[in-house]
């Protein structure tokens, strides 16, 4: 059987031959560092800089990288080694990847490949490889619809934070599908370029709800003449105060008795009390003070509910990416070496309608016969394929390349 890697490189070369000229370079590209993963060796080539778009385009046509990146940072000397680049500033970036989000669908996307031979399979890795006897495996991230949807809804949540809380104009918030498991969000505005790591950490903590103290949002017991009373934030409060109130409101509206009882740290009797009194609590939310409305629901209970509401509303991001002011990010319209899909930039208002498995397909032409070792069900475009096990199938090019990139299939002669 032919070497699938050579075939992938050939297809990537064709892609760049036809599309390199359409790849937009980022703003101030002369001040950015570019990085490439070399397809044949799998190593990263860094510290490249280009003085004109055509040099960049000629370069990718020449080397056919498997992955292409540019720095979120601006440097005086982008092509020098790290210590000598002289950092000028950096865009604000976020990475949402379902590595960092727990989803209920692990079974649908667990996949392994043997590190010594070309064996692969769905589900948990075996203890020894049936083909070569090896015991080292690589877990492969399968593209799972549930995970992709989750990542998208996290991205939408993040955009809401960036627009409503941080006040960035929506047109300055760029969303990119990474070509694989998630989204990057990229804010490019002069005033944020100088933010240091500590400041970026604060932004990360904000969107993740880290370090949030409920008492600083007004939830606390106060002494009144009539005795102790609990007060708390209002539904319309700005920032996290309002989010907390709305989040707790949602829990009370949507949780059934069972769900309330399952909350760790809330007594079963109190859970029933919340359930029985929900009408009354909800009514006081418009007219009075819900936090103090029911005798028997104490501060500890409210704090527990707030905790859950914070988790529900926070965004899961890869914190390191945002704090690292030298980070490289993928470039729109370049390919992702692990899928053969392309990176796609999406205006934030169209994200809702974006379908990564349709809109990021790069290889639209032709079909290819491949021998599939094993594959979960997967979708490319409108079609659903698989599951497959040890069979030869003729597939549209994008689906075939996806399997080859995942090392789930081999070429037939």
């Amino acid at each position: 059987m032919k070497n699938p890697r050579k075939f992938i490189i050939q297809k990537f070369t064709e892609y760049y031959r036809d599309n390199a000229n359409k790849i937009p370079l980022p703003t101030s590209y002369k001040k950015r560092e570019f990085g490439f993963i070399l397809s044949d060796k799998g190593i990263m080539l860094r510290h490249k800089a280009f003085s004109e778009p055509r040099f960049f385009r000629d370069f990718i046509k020449l080397i056919t990288p498997s992955d292409v990146y540019h720095s979120a940072a601006y440097y005086k000397h982008p092509s020098r080694e790290m210590g000598k680049k002289e950092w000028i500033g950096a865009d604000l970036i976020f990475d949402i990847d379902f590595d960092h989000i727990s989803t209920p669908c692990t079974e649908e996307h667990e996949y392994w490949t043997c590190e010594l031979c070309d064996q692969a399979g769905v589900g948990k890795q075996p203890s020894v490889c049936s083909q070569c006897g090896g015991s080292k495996f690589k877990m492969v991230a399968w593209l799972c619809e549930t995970c992709l949807e989750t990542a998208k809804s996290e991205a939408l949540k993040l955009i809401e934070f960036l627009v409503n809380d941080f006040g960035f104009p929506p047109q300055d918030v760029e969303v990119c599908f990474s070509g694989h498991r998630g989204y990057h969000i990229h804010v490019e505005r002069d005033e944020i370029k100088q933010l240091d790591q500590d400041a970026r950490k604060e932004i990360v903590d904000y969107v993740q709800g880290t370090g949030l103290k409920v008492s600083l949002h007004g939830l606390m017991p106060v002494s009144r003449k009539t005795g102790q009373k609990i007060i708390g934030p209002d539904l319309n409060d700005p920032g996290w105060s309002g989010k907390i109130a709305r989040g707790v409101y949602d829990i009370i509206v949507t949780y059934n008795l069972q769900q309330l009882k399952e909350i760790n740290g809330i007594n079963k009797n109190i859970a029933s009390l919340i359930f029985l009194q929900r009408e009354k609590i909800l009514k006081t939310w418009n007219t009075g003070n819900p936090w103090g409305s029911i005798k028997g629901i104490g501060i500890k209970t409210w704090e527990k509910l707030v905790e859950i509401s914070v988790v529900n509303q926070a965004v899961s991001i890869d914190t390191v990416v945002t704090i690292d002011i030298h980070r490289l990010i993928r470039m729109p319209l370049t390919l992702h070496g692990k899928t053969g899909l392309k990176v796609v930039s999406i205006p934030s208002k169209s994200l809702e309608r974006f379908d990564p498995l349709r809109d990021a397909v790069a290889f639209n032409e032709g079909t290819l016969k491949v021998y599939i070792l094993a594959a979960h069900r997967f979708r490319i475009g409108k079609e659903i394929y698989g599951p497959y096990e040890r069979e030869t199938v003729k597939l549209p090019m994008a689906a075939a390349i996806y399997l080859l990139c995942k090392r789930a299939a081999l070429l037939t002669d």
Partner: protein, 344 residues
């Protein structure tokens, strides 16, 4: 708005005050003349107050002119002495004086300083609607200084943030301005041109230096474990250490570097925590957690070593290598070699 002599004396760093002083066109030579002795005495007192109390008093009784003019003179003295600890301590003490004054001053003056001197985006809020908040400040400007205050109250996640603006009460806003003032003054000291001083003034400076040395010695005895040889610290660590004991902000990487260095040099955890906590806003529990984590008694159990010179350079923590630096690649290597050199 900020035009009275009283304002100038209170906030001597504002443009109006600086211009006013410039127009008087005083020469440093003239300062030793008797009619200026009150000014020089007050300048010396400012520095002394900074050293002893950590805050400079607002001395309006002496008259606004003396109070105002003693400020640039004190800056000349401090920059002439060129001691890192003194520079930082002085800037901090001035900023504390200013913070106290701002809190009592009218709102417009706070916004004017923030806008015209520092270019911040800030608005006064109509009180009736936004109670208990007085100002709304762009989160970018907020984050310039707030992360330096290590307390949950200052975390952005605990603030009201809407449409890019952080809602603040007056005392919080005063604190943020004063932190910017501190940096501003430090910068003024560091960039002020070197001036020749006549013998009379040099005498005054000698006197301040003595006070400074007593003060530094006292800190050393109090806070420095004996088995650690501070004279052997590499320049990067010396710098961070100076920052720490003068209560300045240190970045995450900086704190990690200093902590792991001192632990590796043999400082005891308790000592190290004590070193961190008396200072400004360091939160005792957080500090303990971080120090113990780096020491490896928590979490993964690995004891961390400080980053290499190369990494420190990328994080701009290397103040520029000295001669010994050129022969090593790691601050701990510097330390070990230097100790050997000292002991010889």
């Amino acid at each position: 708005m900020l035009v009275s002599k009283e304002d100038f004396a209170k906030y001597p760093f504002i443009i109006g005050a600086v211009d006013y002083v410039k127009r008087l066109d005083l020469k440093t030579d003239e300062l030793s003349q008797p009619e200026f002795s009150a000014i020089v005495t007050r300048a010396e007192a400012r520095i002394e107050e900074a050293l002893l109390d950590g805050i400079i008093k607002w001395e309006s009784r002496l008259g606004y002119d003396i109070e105002l003019l003693s400020y640039p003179v004190a800056i000349i003295f401090v920059s002439n002495i060129a001691d890192n600890y003194l520079k930082k301590r002085y800037a901090l003490a001035e900023s504390k004086r200013i913070q106290a004054l701002l809190k009592e001053d009218v709102d417009e003056k706070l916004t004017e300083i923030a806008i015209s001197i520092f270019g911040w985006k800030v608005k006064r809020l109509p009180l009736e609607i936004y109670q208990p908040f007085d100002f709304s400040l762009s989160f970018i400007d907020y984050l310039r200084n707030a992360p330096n205050f290590h307390d949950f109250r200052w975390k952005l996640v605990n603030k009201h943030l809407i449409n890019g603006e952080v809602f603040l009460q007056k005392d919080e806003f005063s604190r943020l301005i004063s932190e910017e003032v501190r940096k501003h003054i430090e910068n003024t000291i560091n960039t002020s041109p070197k001036v020749e001083l006549n013998p009379l003034l040099l005498q005054r400076i000698e006197h301040i230096k003595q006070r400074l040395n007593i003060r530094k010695e006292r800190i050393r005895i109090k806070e420095q474990p004996r088995n650690i040889i501070s004279a052997a610290y590499p320049p990067c660590i010396k710098n961070l250490y100076d920052y720490l004991i003068s209560g300045q902000h240190i970045s995450h990487v900086g704190r990690f570097t200093l902590t792991s260095f001192l632990l590796n040099a043999g400082m005891k955890i308790e000592k190290l925590i004590k070193l961190y906590t008396p200072i400004s806003d360091f939160n005792q529990r957080l500090t303990r957690y971080q120090v113990e984590h780096i020491a490896g008694v928590r979490g993964s159990g690995t004891k961390y070593t400080p980053p290499s010179c190369e990494t420190l350079k990328t994080h701009r923590l290397c103040p520029g290598p000295d001669e010994l630096c050129s022969r090593i690649k790691h601050p701990l290597a510097y330390y070990r070699r230097k100790i050997r050199m000292i002991k010889k």
